[in-house]
Assembly symmetry: C2
Homo-oligomer: 330 residues x 2
Amino acid sequence: MREVAALAKVSIKTVSRVVNGESGVSPRLTRRVTAASERLNYRHNLPASSLRRSDGRSATIGVVLEDVANPFASTLHRSIEDVAVPRGVLVFAGSSDEDGDRERRLVSAFASRRVDGLIIQPASHDHSYLLSERKAGCAIVFVDRPPKFFDADSVVTDNAAGVRRGVHHLIANGHRRIGYLGDLHTIDTARERYEGYCAELAEQKVVVDEKLVRLDLRGIEKAEAATRELVTSSRPPTALFTGQNFITIGAFRALRGLGLHKKVALVGFDDILLADLLEPGITVIAQDPAAIGRAAAELLFRRLDGDKSPSQTTVVRTRMIARGSGELRP
Amino acid sequence: MREVAALAKVSIKTVSRVVNGESGVSPRLTRRVTAASERLNYRHNLPASSLRRSDGRSATIGVVLEDVANPFASTLHRSIEDVAVPRGVLVFAGSSDEDGDRERRLVSAFASRRVDGLIIQPASHDHSYLLSERKAGCAIVFVDRPPKFFDADSVVTDNAAGVRRGVHHLIANGHRRIGYLGDLHTIDTARERYEGYCAELAEQKVVVDEKLVRLDLRGIEKAEAATRELVTSSRPPTALFTGQNFITIGAFRALRGLGLHKKVALVGFDDILLADLLEPGITVIAQDPAAIGRAAAELLFRRLDGDKSPSQTTVVRTRMIARGSGELRP
DNA sequence: TTGTCATTTGACAACGTTGTCAGATATAAC
DNA sequence: GTTATATCTGACAACGTTGTCAAATGACAA
């Protein structure tokens, strides 16, 4: 900047004014400064600028996702980017792998870089550690799951209602023995979904048979093994509800392997690319990750723009997509 | 930091030393300083630190991908993160949407934030604009596609060889009329893949019939429409080669819709989640995005660690996965 | 005690920028 | 030509940190 000022024969303050598009610089000097910046290939130093600036904003936010490569998370990521980038804000992203420690380490790394805001898909079970970040002026919004021991905005899916809808659908198709395959029970949404399953069965006066329930499944392989074991047991279920997309894939793979994919009904939580092309197509309770991400990012920026209203929880609805697997009759 | 120094009754320089783990601070003072930092909830300001620091490193890199939500790109992203985070380096990510202008704007935004390095999946067709970034000390590695008019490291897939392998496989299964469905011809890799198709046909003494070729397809819908039109023409192909994952999906969807999915052979470039569960399973030429990302990130950090050797191109091999669709006979 | 040397500590400037405020210049009115 | 006013411009300090270097302290031997 000093060099630009020297070449344009003005003070560095005038260069600063031009760079920031402040009013009150004569066209003549503006021209000279822009010419000099071009010639010297000057690039504004944003960290230095935000250091000096009164608001201290870095025009940067941090996003903690379960795994940036997971389809649900990466769609969230993209819709956050689509809100942030037009505002001149860049996005740091990191994966927690469902590990509370990694979540904290990422948040700490983001905070050291002075991000203006954080969007977190929680892995940890105690978010009180975020108090100091917020006190330091960092806005925080949770996605997919609500925070624990910490009051903050969140944007979540109506998990229980979605699962109830799917289970109801299976019951309406004549099923009574409906198996449930769920994700790690430490994950709140996994628990909520399981509770939705139980609640709907209770409402429909169907007794929950614990022999038909398999929880704490993580990944396609585990789900596949659990499904195989469940449907080959002595009193197998006639239908399955799977509580997460990889579990749905594992379950379908097992059913396919056993030649049962056109016999045992299946409804899965979360949509899956290509689910419509399988035989039968997989009936799912679809979330809307793009809507969740967009809502979270917009909420975050409202907070950064000074909205001080009480923290709010936005619930994004699910949608059932019937494709065949959920309409198989016992 | 000043407050911590005051509370610990030392100079801020001593606090700086403790924070950076420099040697030569007595255990007594170290204890006092850490206690004071904890009590005041002090958080090191990395941008300010890197401003003053002699190496000027921000411990930050920028990644420009086609779309962070695209499965190939998000896997790249994840494997880059896995190399960066253990080194204390955080990752900015952005989507170019295959638009050279967006790529340049993202790079410029990253540069303003003084990233130490860039990993770019190129959309632009002239990367000479990166000269000034490199002169400013920014390391640059290209992934998936090589740079244009710019000498830099790159990590790419052997596209032509992969396609030739797939086309060869179809010919070995008795096909002569093999259709080709390709992505935007402005994309280098799309062009390379098409050239691989032509080269293999030539090698096998099969004349390229332009009526069997559809290029510039972007997205599932366009691919689906093109496939439908192609296979219902008067002299349809007996096999298809699809040059990209969404095109493969669109083609399969069209074949399914016409009841031809067990008649017309199909080999696709890029693996697809669930491809093994379709009927028939889809035979693909699989890339290894995780290996590409890892190699690119490691190369970037070698450059940042001072490796000054001439720029290199790393070629990552493809692998054919036969699942049924590519083994259908005419 | 004194002198020597190694170790530990702190004062100060600087990184690249912007906020503050005073000074310079141009414009208009008399 | 003078004054009043509006418009531009620049000198300087400060943001939170670290590099430099000199000063203070401690350990040890004579």
